[in-house]
Amino acid sequence: MKVFGANELLEDVFEKNLCIGCGACTYLCPYFRSYRGKTAILFPCNLTQGRCWAYCPKVEVDLDDLSERFFGRPYEKDPLGFHRSVKISKAGRQVSEGSFQAGGTVSALMSFALSKGYISAAALTDREGLRPVPRLAQSTDDILRCSSSKYTASPTLSALNQAINEGHNQIGVVGTPCQVLAIAQMRSNPMGDKDFSDPVSLVVGLFCTWAVDFREFDAFISERIEGSRITKVDIPPPPAEIMEVYTDNGKIEIPLDEIRELVPNTCSYCTDMTAEFSDISVGVLEGRPDMNTIITRTERGEKIVDEARKEGFLILDDIGKENLEHLIWAAGNKKKRAFIKAKQEGMLNAREEGARCYLRVRPETVEEIIA
């Protein structure tokens, strides 16, 4: 894999407005920091190769390479990515009540992994007001405090990088597909570091079709709530098509179309709805607000899901045919749209000597996806 440095990251990602603010490039060094949902470079760095560039999920992501590394086969057209099973699930009786987004599957998995010592800490996403705040959870209480979705893009991986700096080497992470992609690149040791050992032990991915830009969202909401304090944000399942914002002065409803206006352009190039490089991916379940859809991908993921079920942390069930078809349809749609757009804009498989691009994947696969 070709690796470049911070200057190229600025050129390829920041200047093209592709940064989603995942946090993968932050806290690796003194130069990249995340602030109020945006990633900033503090000072120029002139190294020709660096982890910031190598980890970024928005430039030179070689899907075939990653797929080979994690699943032993090249990237395929399957809308859900490589997987072992798709089921539905929710937190079991061993998990305390929390303000879960849906079934609490994610919090349950993290709590289980922590209690079994499979992970020593988890990089999660808390909130302060509307602002998503990366947190390193080290207890079940911490994990529960971070439950529920923050619909803004979050620099969650800055918590991961800080955890690694502090010497953690058995870390669990929950992230959106772009974050999971960055983690996959981190784990594949792109710098060829001789002393490298994978510090990440469990990756739970979240389904995602888009996230909103925090700064725009904050300005948008502030205008509408006039100083009241936000207690919860929810997007009820279709066909509601609204976002509900609960404040200490009551609830306001905002049409989702207005919210979609705040989605950064970079999401429209994202080909992944189900976090294809995770151990386990979790989303909502159409028509069942108390349940999740759960995809297991790796052996480790499968083992943890199985044990969590046996020990009462997770309740599993089969997914109905209609729900599965809908999931495949939605994920396929996102993938196809993004590949078409990226291809049209020349962001795939740049061939000229030294040229850099967004994604690399076998051209046959691209054709199969957009057919």
């Binding site: 060094c29 920091r33 602030y35 900033a40 503090l42 982890r51 710098m191």
Partner: protein, 645 residues
């Protein structure tokens, strides 16, 4: 006891020009002396402040130059000889009062000393103060050597009393800061009794009201005074001519250029071909004297620094006298014989003169020049302007820079003159984007802060020093508060006028004379104005940056952050280091991904050095002042600080 108050007549001392000026004021019996610090003028007040109590004179560092001139004027009105001192651009600050004072006239002798800085060695401008004399119609004197610097001050006081108006004396850096032998005169007896007589007839110059009204009457009176000064100048001892009766070329010059011109004539050996008219009285020019000397030859070279002040004035006279003295050819700044900008030196004058007298002159022999070329200069380390080791400004601008980068809305800083002006350069992370007069940062920021309705959405910061805050920032802040302009002022409070040598200012408890005075609290002033005020230690990088971001986001009009930390060079700090610093080679990442030398590549305190052999950073113990800040810059914790016991 200071040699400056040695009362032995005829005693000789090697004095700096500024000390000679101070001694001149003492010999003249000046009783009130005020100024605002500014290189090259500051030593005058400093040397007088030290002996103020012994000599029973009142000396103060005023809040700004206008106030200095006003305070000095009060002395004159009360019958005391008084002097105010400033650098060239200080006269601009004082100029509104100067105009009115020149109109009202003075009582006891009053002298304005302006020290100009040709070449802007210590200035953000190459200002010319001599035009003020012409502009406000007061006499102007320029000493041509160190003895004159002293004697001319005394003479200026006498002249001021003769015409009852302010007299301006202009020095330049090379006159103020160079030294020469000066022979002392007597010090006058010290008894005085200050009283302001103001109950006489309203127009009585010595007992009436002091004012520039009625304007036509006072203006006419003022013009009589300046005319009288011109007459006195015809026989002034500070104007002199050296040279043949009929030289080929006549040099007309003043001030330090007199020394360069004399040297140039000597170097070229043209004493019998070139005449030198050295003028001490440069406004108004004495016409008869000029006529005599201009009649000597047709070729005139005018040697002066900054603007062609003498040149223009001589040309006007020559034009008027042309029927009598004939047509002259002038060389000087206008025709490019003398460089239009920058300082002069003997070499430049030699070059100009050689060209006119037709001598092929090389300032450096070819052989020497060749040798000089061959001398390796590479071993002399390339040096750039930077903040001192342990300077609070480096830490402050680090945080300001980072706060603006994090904010990400292309914010910037408006500033003014002070050490922190270097923040336009990489040593201040190129954070400062406008730099003008004292206090201009706040005024400009106040303007930017009102452009929101016109589409402007960049965050605006202003910086000023503590001394500058009092000098000229306050009106800008009032403007900002009154108009609800949105910006953040950062007061870089290093407890003194650091750039010019730690002169006290209104924020401190001690005056120039070492007396206890009331300190004025910057934070309280800002709060009283209605601003949100925070105070932080710039050495606490994290807190400073967080506070800055919070203030930048707070849209509540004017916000003030006072960053308080004493200057690294301040007398208080020189005592010792707070921390001993070491670097752990094992931990230092050096050029590797994860640091890439943030300490020596970006932060760049001179106390840190990159060891090319070992590829790690080292602390230079001799240079490091032990502030400890770099420990917080290092991402790996390789830089360790240990409190000095």
């Amino acid at each position: 006891m200071s040699y400056l108050i040695d009362n032995t007549e005829g005693a000789q001392y090697l004095l700096m020009g500024n000390e000679a000026i101070a001694r001149g004021a003492l010999e003249a019996g000046a009783k009130v002396v005020c100024g605002y610090p500014g290189t090259p003028s500051s030593d005058i007040i400093e040397s007088l402040a030290k002996i103020a109590k012994d000599m029973n004179i009142y000396v103060e560092w005023s809040t700004n130059e206008k106030v200095a001139m006003e305070v000095a004027a009060a002395g004159s009105f009360a019958g005391l000889r008084s002097m105010c001192v400033m650098k060239q651009n200080g006269v601009n600050v004082a100029s509104d009062f100067l105009l009115h004072l020149a109109g009202s006239g003075t009582r006891a002798g009053m002298v304005l000393v302006s020290c100009d800085d040709p070449g802007a060695l210590s200035s953000a401008n190459e200002g010319e103060s001599r035009f003020f004399a012409r502009l406000v119609e007061i006499p102007l004197l320029e000493p041509g050597d160190f003895q004159e610097a002293k004697d001319m001050i005394k003479w200026a006081f006498e002249l001021s009393e003769e015409i009852r108006n302010l007299v301006m004396v202009r020095s330049v850096t090379r006159m103020s800061h160079a030294s020469g032998n000066v022979k002392f005169g007597k010090l006058p007896p010290g008894d005085v009794h200050a009283v302001f007589k103001c109950d006489g007839f309203i127009l009585d110059p010595m007992e009436g009201a002091v004012m520039s009204l009625p304007v036509r009457y006072k203006h006419a009176l003022q013009q009589e005074k300046i005319k009288k000064a011109g007459e006195i100048f015809e026989d002034c001892p500070f104007n002199s001519y050296h040279g043949p009766e009929k030289p080929e070329v006549l040099i007309i010059t003043s001030s330090a250029c007199n020394l360069y011109s004399r040297e140039a004539i000597g170097i070229l050996g043209v004493e019998d071909r070139v005449g030198l008219l050295k003028l001490g009285t440069t406004w108004p020019l004495p016409p008869e004297l000029l006529k005599r000397h201009l009649s000597r030859t047709d070729k005139i070279l005018i040697v002066e620094e900054v603007l062609p002040f003498l040149e223009e004035n001589v040309k006007i006279l020559a034009a008027e006298m042309a029927p009598e003295i004939g047509i002259k050819t002038f060389h000087g700044k206008n025709d490019g014989t003398i460089p239009a900008v920058g300082e002069l030196n003997p070499d430049l004058v030699v070059g100009a003169l050689a060209q006119i007298v037709g001598i092929d002159y090389k300032p450096v022999p070819d052989e020497y020049a060749e040798k000089a070329e061959g001398v390796p200069t590479s071993r002399a380390p390339a040096r750039e302007l930077t903040f001192c080791p342990g300077c609070p400004h480096r830490a402050s601008f680090w945080s300001i820079h980072n706060a603006l980068q994090l904010d990400g809305r292309k914010g910037f800083v408006c500033g003014d003159i002070g050490c922190y002006g270097m923040a336009t350069l990489p040593c201040g992370f190129s954070t400062l984007k406008t730099l003008h007069a004292m206090g201009s940062g706040g005024g400009i920021a106040s303007g930017f802060g009102k452009l929101g309705r016109l589409g402007f959405d960049q965050p605006v910061l202003a910086v000023c020093g503590d001394s500058t805050f009092f000098h000229a920032e306050v009106p800008a802040l009032i403007n900002a508060v009154h108009h609800n302009s949105d910006f953040t002022l950062v007061v870089l409070d290093n407890s003194g006028t650091a750039m010019t040598g730690f002169q006290p200012h209104p924020g401190l408890k001690v005056s120039a004379m070492g007396e206890d005075v009331t300190s004025v609290d910057i934070a309280e002033i800002c709060r009283a104005l209605g601003a949100r005020v925070e105070i932080r230690d710039p050495f606490d990088l994290g807190e400073t940056q967080e506070t800055l971001n919070e203030l930048i986001e707070d849209k509540a009009g004017l916000k003030v952050l006072i960053l308080r930390q004493i200057c690294a060079l301040s007398p208080e700090k020189k005592a010792g280091k707070k921390y001993d610093m070491t670097i752990d080679d094992e931990i230092c990442l050096g050029e590797n991904c994860g640091c890439n030398k943030v300490c020596t590549r970006i932060f760049r305190c001179p106390g840190l050095v990159w060891d090319k052999e070992k590829m790690v950073t080292r602390v230079d113990d001799v240079i490091c002042s032990g502030c400890g800040v770099c420990a917080d810059i290092c991402p790996e914790g390789a830089i360790k600080r240990k409190e000095v016991a």
